[in-house]
Every structure is written in C-alpha cells, then in structure tokens.
C-alpha cells in the first residue's frame, strides 16, 4: 500500500482571530461527508491553566469537497460542552467519532477527568446532533460504555462504524499504569464492542491487535476502513519507556476478514515521516475515508497534532 502525502490541511495557529478555546492542537480527525464539503471533527486546546493543565474541546473545520485544501467554514463554538463537576468528561471531550443516524448525527466521544494517583481517567459517552453535527446534546451525564473487570480504566479513542447491518465500536481500554521514572504512563490496547442500535453494546472482551513495538506498548485510535474485500485497521501507538519514546507516535496496521481476528502487518502501512515540515518527527492518529472515488488519510504531525493535520492519498489498491 502506498500513501502519497498531499500536504498540511489545517493548523489552528494559521487562523487569525481564532477563539481562545481553539488556541492550538487539532487532534484525532474524523470526517462526515456533506454534498459540498467534508466536515472534519478534531480536538483542540486553550492555553494551559494556572496549574499547567490542559482541557480539550472538540470542534470541526469544513473543507471544500472538490478541493480539500480549501477551508470553507470553522466551528464557532465547541460541539460538546464539558461535563459538570465530578462527571467523567469534566476536563475534556476528545476524541470523537461521528455517524449519521437518519437526520441525526451521533458522536461517540471520550470524556476526561483528573485523578490523584494517576493524571487522568477516560470513558466513552454519546452525543446526538439534530443540526447536522454543529452541536451535540449528551444522552446523559455519564458514560455510555461502562468499565468492566477486564477494562478497568481509560476507555478512549472511540471509532464507530456500520458494517453488514451492525454497529461496531473500536476503542481502547487501559491495560496498566506503568511507572516510568516515578511517573505513571498509560498502556492501553485496542478493543471492540458490537451493537444493533448504537446504544446497547456487547463487548468482545478481547484485545484485537498483538503487541509489536515493545513491552506495555500503548495502542490508540483504531480506525477501520473496508476496501478490496478486507477490513483495514490503521492505528497509532507508542511505548511508554523513556521520555522520547513516550512522546513519539507511530502508525500501525492490521487487517481482518471477519472484524474479530486481526493480522498485524505494520510493514504494509505505507506512510512515514517526511524529511521536513509539520510531520518530520511523527505521523499519528490516522483516519481513512473515501470520497468521490479516491481514498484519503488524515493524520497528525509533530507533537501529536499540536500543529494540526495533513492529508495523504492512497495510490493503487489497499489490499
């Protein structure tokens, strides 16, 4: 498989007069295709607070369907509010994944809270939009997908898909908090749940992709795309080892014919860092979508999307 980079699409810092809550970062892109434009949801951050802490909001940028490098619209407000005191999404709604449900758009999103012994916990909630994805109303104040004995914390990175009449939610669940130089670093793995209605989910209770990069590797952002008779998963990961490794990101790849059993094959991913530019240190958090006969990958560049995301195009077949 071969991805040809077409360039950087969006960097919040390039938008003059942008709101404070969209100060920097454009992470975890996810698309919703309209007649004339492609809405790309992403997550962004205001400057750090007095304690040096970030919160995350989700927003969108609309790209001209016929020229994806032309921005035609930008969210004026976060698409989801942060949660009330004590709730799972009090300090961030990031990332999110959207799917059309008739006239509605449903967003599965990860909500962040802060803990004492570890920096954060994460759970997955649901928001519903009746205005074509401009704003979302939360279905409830708590998470949709619950923790369980085998998924004890940090359930995040939801990606919702509809295949063969059923809904699939690919996500990650915490495996362990690993102490590195006395600091807790998260290791999470790719998981899946299946649903007939998008509300009631049956967990598979299974880690989908084996480790490859190293001990306690952290897997994230499992983006699944169907093409050429196979399901293709592009995901992101890192190894919580030393500072450099913990802060770096890589893109991994696996394929499946049944959505349950996956074969990891990173060699075939077909995209890597550039020699210079916004993605010369890392490519991360891939999202693949088809548009008008072409297949595209949105991906983050350096510092996990601090300077926004770029676009690559598939050349030839995927399988």
């Amino acid at each position: 498989m071969k991805w040809v980079k077409r360039g950087q699409v969006f960097n919040p810092a390039d938008i003059a007069g942008r709101p404070q809550w969209m100060h920097e970062y454009a992470q975890a892109p996810a698309t919703l295709v309209f007649d004339d434009f492609v809405r790309v949801y992403f997550s962004c951050r205001p400057p750090r607070d007095a304690d040096g802490q970030f919160v995350s909001y989700s927003a969108f940028v609309d790209l001209d369907r016929h020229n994806l490098f032309r921005i035609v619209n930008l969210a004026r407000e976060p698409v989801l509010p942060l949660g009330e005191l004590g709730t799972f999404d009090e300090f961030g709604t990031y990332p999110m994944s959207v799917i059309r449900r008739g006239d509605e758009v449903w967003a599965y999103y990860a909500g962040w809270t802060r803990c004492e012994s570890v920096p954060f916990n994460v759970a997955i909630g649901l928001g519903i939009s009746t205005d074509q994805g401009v704003t979302f109303r939360k279905l409830g104040p708590g998470p949709l997908l619950e923790y369980s004995p085998d998924e004890p914390f940090t359930m995040s990175g939801p990606k919702v898909r509809f295949f063969n009449g059923r809904y699939y939610l690919f996500y990650i669940a915490g495996d362990a908090w690993v102490l590195k130089d006395g600091k807790p670093e998260i290791s999470h793995k790719i998981r899946m749940a299946v649903s007939d209605d998008g509300l009631h989910w049956t967990k598979q209770h299974k880690t989908l992709v084996p480790d490859r990069w190293g001990e306690n590797e952290s897997q994230a952002s499992p983006d699944v795309f169907y093409a050429d008779g196979r399901y293709h998963m592009f995901f992101c990961g890192w190894v919580p080892r030393d500072f450099r490794q913990t802060r770096s990101r890589k893109i991994g790849y696996a394929w499946s014919t049944d959505l349950v059993n996956w074969t990891r094959d990173d060699e075939r991913v077909g995209i890597d860092v550039s020699s210079d530019g916004f993605d010369n240190e890392m490519v991360a958090y891939p999202h693949v979508f088809a548009l008008d006969g072409r297949t595209w990958m949105l991906y983050l560049g350096n510092q996990v999307g601090r300077y926004g995301f770029g676009l690559a195009e598939l050349e030839g077949a995927m399988a």
């Binding site: 803990c115 012994s117 916990n121 708590g142 619950e146 923790y147 369980s148 004995p149 940090t154 908090w177």
Partner: protein, 318 residues
C-alpha cells in the same frame, strides 16, 4: 419494628486491632459460619502523607455475640493497582454464601482532583470460607453509567428466588455549601438484578423517595421475613452532617412485597439514637442478618463508626 439494643459489641480500641489500625470498624457485615458469626468491616491503617485508606478486616464472634473467637490476619481483599477504582479503599464490603463459595461485593474508592473521590462496585470471591478473596478483575462490575454518572457504591447483594439483587447508591450531584468550600455529594438508593452476579441490569430509577432534595441515602440492607422484604438504610443531609447531629446519619426504613415497589416509612424503623451513649449523635451503616432464627441489625454510631459497632435484636416486626 421493635429492636432491643445489645450495645456496642465490638470496640476497636479495646480489641486486638488497636495499634495496628488507627480506629474505625465501619459498616459491619455478617457472615454466619458454623460456630461463629464473622463480621467484616472497614478500618484504617496509620495514614501515609496524611491520607488514609480503608481496608477490609473481620472479627469472629460467638453466636451469642459475647465472645471474640478470632480475627483476620493480613489482607482479606487487596486494594487495587495504580489507577484502578479501588486503589484507595474498600468500604463497605457485602458478603454472602453462594454456590459453595463466599461472594464479596466491594465498594472501591479512589481519589479525584475536582471532587474528593469516585467509587465503583467490584466483585471478589473466596474459597476459604471468607478468609481471603480473589478479585474477578482489576475493574468494577458496576460503575458509572449514562444516567448514574458517579459515586456508584454501597452494594448490598442477596439472591432471592434464583435472582441476584443488588441494592446500591449513586450520586445525583456534587456541590459546595458555599463558594470556595469543597464540594459535597448527594446520593440515592437504586436497584439492579442479575442472573449471574456479574452482568447487571439497572432498574434505572431511585427506589426510595427522598424526604428533600438534599437528603443523602446510603447503605441499603434488605432481609426477607415471611413474605415481606424489609430495608433499613441510613440518611443524612448533604451539608453540615459532620458537625451538626441534627443533619447527621439516622436510620430509615422501607418495605416491599415484590422487590420493585418500596414504601418508605421511617417511623417504623424503631431504632433511634440513645442519649449519652456511643450512638447518641449518629446512627449509620446498618446491616440486617438472620442467625439462629433471630433477626439482627448491626450498625455504627457516632463519628461514622470510628470506635466500633453495635448490635440490636428484633423483638417484633410490627
């Protein structure tokens, strides 16, 4: 209901646990054994960095509750790993015999930043008659959900007619009594059922009417006497409950004939605070159990059970 108070049957400071633990024998929960009654409770080792944790221990008493026959040694159920729901404490711990083993549902808690804690309910099983328990996993069996967003805790589980019933509580709000003060929580009693004790179906609504919107309801305990189910729980005000006895924990009561509809009737509870006694300012963390044909109520008194627990015997259901 008419109760005869048997007094404070377990005093931490007078016990073998003194020194090893700084006090507290909270939320006593009984497991009737062949020649004894084992009371599980939550206690506190000396605090590290000024922050306490809650751990489960037990004391064995004769079936007339007059003699201590034994106690736990070491860890009964371990606290959770880094970042888990039960990392900083288990309190309370609800035990019962099932299928040749002893099942224990834990209320695990962990510290948060914007609020003091969050909680969830775990399951651990013992194959040595309740001396040690092994957890089903690192995560909870019942935790926050769409409409029960936090503070899912205080499990009390029993099997009636082949169905697992769990009474528990969940949070309905965190708010500060005044700007700048630490937020306090409000919670209510709910109910879930299960075929296997692991996958739970929540009834999705509070089951006990609140006396006012700032009432907190905690520690539901249920027993069947004849055809009727009786629930004793404790309740307090959201604010000021630590210092004002009028806002502190008291017992509440409700009954049901179908395990679905509950009729609250606190006046019938029949167990009040005793002036000048160990339970003068507070009555909390009730636990109903049967032993040798009698019905008992174990509970804590002042200071949230700091000094020990007491017992009362049911004299009349009416």
């Amino acid at each position: 209901m008419k109760w005869r108070k048997l007094g404070k049957i377990f005093d931490v400071a007078q016990s073998d646990f003194a020194g090893e633990f700084i006090g507290y024998a909270q939320s006593p929960q009984a497991l009737v054994c062949e020649d004894r009654v084992r009371f599980y409770f939550s206690t506190r080792p000396p605090a590290e960095n000024g922050k306490f944790v809650s751990v489960v221990q037990y004391v064995d008493m004769s079936r007339d509750f007059r003699t201590v026959l034994g106690r736990s040694h070491g860890t009964v159920v371990p606290l959770g790993k880094l970042g888990t729901f039960d990392e900083h404490g288990i309190f309370p711990f609800s035990v019962f015999r099932h299928d040749g083993a002893v099942w224990g549902y834990s209320n695990g808690w962990n510290r948060r930043k914007s609020v003091s804690v969050d909680t969830a309910i775990g399951l651990a099983i013992s194959h040595d008659d309740g001396q040690t328990f092994t957890k089903l996993g690192d995560g909870p069996v019942l935790g926050p959900s769409l409409h029960e967003p936090y503070l899912v805790c205080d499990p009390f589980v029993r099997v009636f007619d082949g169905v697992f019933h769990m009474w528990y509580i969940y949070g309905t709000g965190w708010k500060a009594a005044a700007p700048g003060e630490a937020p306090d929580r409000t919670y209510v009693i709910a109910h879930a059922t299960s075929a296997d004790g692991i996958e739970w179906r929540r009834s999705g609504r509070p089951i006990i009417t609140q006396k006012h919107p700032e009432e907190c309801q905690a520690l539901p305990s249920v027993i069947r006497l004849g055809a009727r189910y009786h629930m004793v729980f404790c309740h307090r005000h959201t604010f000021g409950f630590r210092t004002d006895p009028a806002r502190g924990y008291r017992l509440g009561y409700a009954w049901s004939d179908d395990l679905v509809h509950w009729q609250r009737d606190d006046a019938r509870c029949g167990l009040e605070a005793s002036t000048g006694e160990w339970d003068s300012d507070m009555v909390c963390y009730p636990h109903l159990f049967a032993c040798d044909g009698k019905t008992y109520l174990a509970y804590n008194g002042n200071h949230f059970g700091r000094d020990g627990f007491g017992l009362a015997e049911l004299e009349s259901e009416h």
